[in-house]
């Protein structure tokens, strides 16, 4: 039993089921991120934890106590909304103190709590301003401050950074992470931004179509995606997915990939890979851009670097790296080169593929083939 338990919870609006049986157990101090494309049910699940939406079936429990019938105010949670939801008629200090006031905390204590949190978030000079007089980033801080003063068991964030511009978003992301490391609070955080999910979380639940597709640490999700949706959604640029066929080369499993000019290439899987039992099977091979590089940029620690000649279609210099697009298995594939590699579109160029990082999926079920 965890600190926050979501047990077999579902949500339906009339006949439409928007959240299917979901089981997540969050430990105290964890930073759980719910990530997925718009409409996948992230906010619904968060609102169920908050008590703003009823649970259709299943249970939500915090500290072992069933919460389904408990009012939001009595769940000892705090929430930061996408729109910040600051009360427009109250100044910053009143906004932050409102929850404490509603919970009957005496004035002196409220003032002290507001003062402490304002110092922590460096918003003391703003305390007497109305929300309308604040910038987006300041409002965001105040919204967090309002959640922090309550000292709740669980913090809920619903896309708190999506209304900020790109630069500020990155800054606030770092700040939230620092705050979590400092305060060791339990957080459930909703975002559609996979980078936010990977950088902030201790664990990620990737959601799609009302299902949790995979639950795991950022590294597990990134390196071992459970299915093609997770593989494609997490990571930027996203994982290359292209068809291949399993063959045996000198008794070792390998993937045969068709190239542009009717030729084909063979890429042996890493030693110990269980694909040998899958001989003849058609698969979808998944390789991240950083595992397809120029030869000198390949990972020196890998035991399974294999070379492959292919024609360069497009190059996209991105400052620190150059992304190179080629065709493998009839699909466009992005490779990540060091920035100073001389490569031009139209060239035939040797690519180094790190097969230790390759994963295989079933083309029908789109599920990971674990061998």
């Amino acid at each position: 039993m965890g600190f926050l338990d979501i047990k077999n919870a579902t949500k339906s609006y009339g006949p439409v089921r928007v959240l299917h049986e979901t089981d997540i157990s969050v430990e105290e101090g964890e930073f759980l991120v719910l990530v997925g494309p718009s409409g996948c049910g992230k906010s619904t699940l968060l609102n169920m934890i908050a008590g703003l939406e009823d649970v259709t079936s299943g249970e939500i429990a915090i500290r072992g106590r069933r919460m389904n019938e408990v009012r939001p105010a009595d769940r000892n949670i705090a929430m930061v909304f996408q729109s910040y939801a600051l009360y427009p008629n109250m100044n910053v200090a009143q906004n932050m103190a409102f929850g404490l006031e509603m919970h009957g905390v005496p004035k002196a204590e409220r003032d002290k709590a507001v003062k402490d949190v304002a110092e922590l978030l460096q918003i003391t000079p703003l305390l007497n301003r109305k929300p309308g007089q604040l910038s987006g980033g300041q409002r965001q801080r105040v919204a967090m401050g309002r959640a922090l003063v309550r000292q709740p068991d669980v913090f809920l964030f619903d896309e708190p950074l999506s209304n900020l511009d790109a630069k500020l978003r990155v800054d606030m992301r770092t700040e939230i992470k620092k705050l979590h490391q400092k305060l060791k609070t339990t957080i459930v955080y909703v975002t559609h931004d996979q980078i936010e999910a990977l950088t902030l979380s201790t664990r990620i639940a990737v959601m799609y179509g009302g299902y949790v597709q995979q639950l795991g640490t950022p590294k597990e999700i990134y390196d071992n995606p459970a299915n093609m949706f997770v593989a494609g959604f997490m990571g930027s640029p996203s994982m290359n997915l292209f068809p291949a066929k399993v063959e045996l080369e000198n008794g070792q499993a390998a993937a045969r990939i068709s190239l542009v000019d009717g030729k084909s290439a063979i890429l042996p899987f890493a030693p110990g890979n269980a694909m040998a039992s899958q001989e003849g099977r058609k698969i979808i091979l998944g390789i991240r851009p950083e595992a397809i590089t120029d030869e000198d940029g390949a990972d020196r620690n890998s035991q399974a670097i294999h070379k492959l000649e292919s024609v360069v279609e497009v190059t996209e210099p991105a400052g620190s790296d150059t992304f190179v697009v080629t065709q493998l298995g009839g699909k466009e594939v992005t490779a990540r080169f060091r920035a100073d590699v001389e490569v031009r579109p139209g060239d035939s160029f040797p690519f180094a593929v790190n097969m230790e990082k390759a994963v295989a999926f079933d083309p029908e079920t789109e599920m990971r083939i674990s061998g």
Partner: protein, 301 residues
């Protein structure tokens, strides 16, 4: 209705300025000034003639300024003119109207705000039907409810009293005030209500502390609308009041009708202005609080 539409449009913000040449602007202003004078003419006639002795009016010259300025017609209309059978002036009836309009406006506005709050933020099964019925209530012709209403007032024991009139106007007013507040609160971010719920505020606390402080503009629109309608109502006043509970409009009619000998036009003019002043006053006072953009900044930038 027109008032509400105007507010929303104005609230939309960015005024679009159409640039015109100096020549056409000249024509436009001339036309506007002419229209303005045309509309102000009746007011001028009323004010001027209410300040003249009767002889000056009878000598013709309705448009002329008074030769001998006098406030006697005002004093007479207020406290001594014959209204119906009594020579009380309009004063008691003015008081009746105040006693009728203030509670009717206050209660219907508060109830409308509560209704709008429930219909948008505490939605329940069948809420659209309830709203539809309230809306329907706005558009039932007055004449249709006269007899059922008379019967109801009789059963409730408040027929022919000022509280009876308050009740009638309240019933009629709630439809409109609900419509105003519902449409306004629909734009009000629901996340604020949810945030307050998590903060521990209950139904009425959220209403009082979160919704009402942001309801200034729509409350003003609602008050102006209700005040004007209820103050100016004649049909309900004439149908449901006794001699001692008549509102100003009915009394004004009686004042004009009941002059037995000569028609004291100057007194009638003074009385008519008195009957119109409170609505004018409400427009001027409430209009000053007509602050737009109270909500600016609560959500997004």
């Amino acid at each position: 209705m027109a008032t509400a539409a105007a507010t929303t449009n104005a609230g939309a913000g960015s005024a679009q300025v159409i640039r015109t040449g100096a020549g056409s602007r000249y024509v436009i202003y001339t036309l506007l000034i002419l229209f303005c004078l045309y509309y102000l003419l009746p007011l001028y006639v009323m004010v001027v003639n209410s300040l003249k002795p009767l002889s000056e009016i009878q000598a013709g010259g309705m448009m002329a300024l008074p030769d001998a300025l006098t406030f006697a017609p005002w004093a007479s209309a207020w406290s001594s003119a014959q209204v119906g059978v009594e020579a009380t002036g309009l004063r008691p009836y003015f008081l009746n109207s105040i006693l009728m309009v203030v509670p009717a406006v206050a209660i219907s506005t508060v109830l409308g705000a509560l209704n709008g709050y429930v219909l948008t933020k505490w939605r329940f099964r069948g809420d659209t039907i309830v709203f539809g019925l309230l809306l329907f209530g706005c558009f039932i012709p007055f004449q249709m409810v006269l007899i059922p209403m008379a019967r109801m007032l009789g059963l409730m024991g408040i027929a022919g009293t000022v509280p009876g009139l308050v009740f009638v106007h309240l019933v009629y007013g709630i439809g409109f005030s609900t419509l105003y507040f519902r449409n306004y609160y629909q734009q009000f971010p629901t996340e604020l209500v949810r945030a307050a719920m998590i903060d521990g505020a209950g139904f009425f606390t959220i209403f009082r502390r979160i919704m009402l402080p942001s309801s200034g503009p729509i409350a003003v629109v609602c008050i102006i609308w209700q005040f004007t309608n209820i103050w100016n109502d004649f049909l309900f006043g004439a149908s449901f009041s006794d001699f001692d509970s008549q509102p100003m409009t009915v009394a004004l009619n009686n004042l004009v009708q009941s002059s037995t000998g000569v028609k004291e036009y100057n007194v009638h003019f003074a009385g008519a202005i008195m009957a119109a002043l409170p609505t004018l006053f409400v427009y001027i006072v409430a209009g000053r609080f007509f602050v737009r953009g109270l909500m600016a900044g609560s959500v997004k930038g």
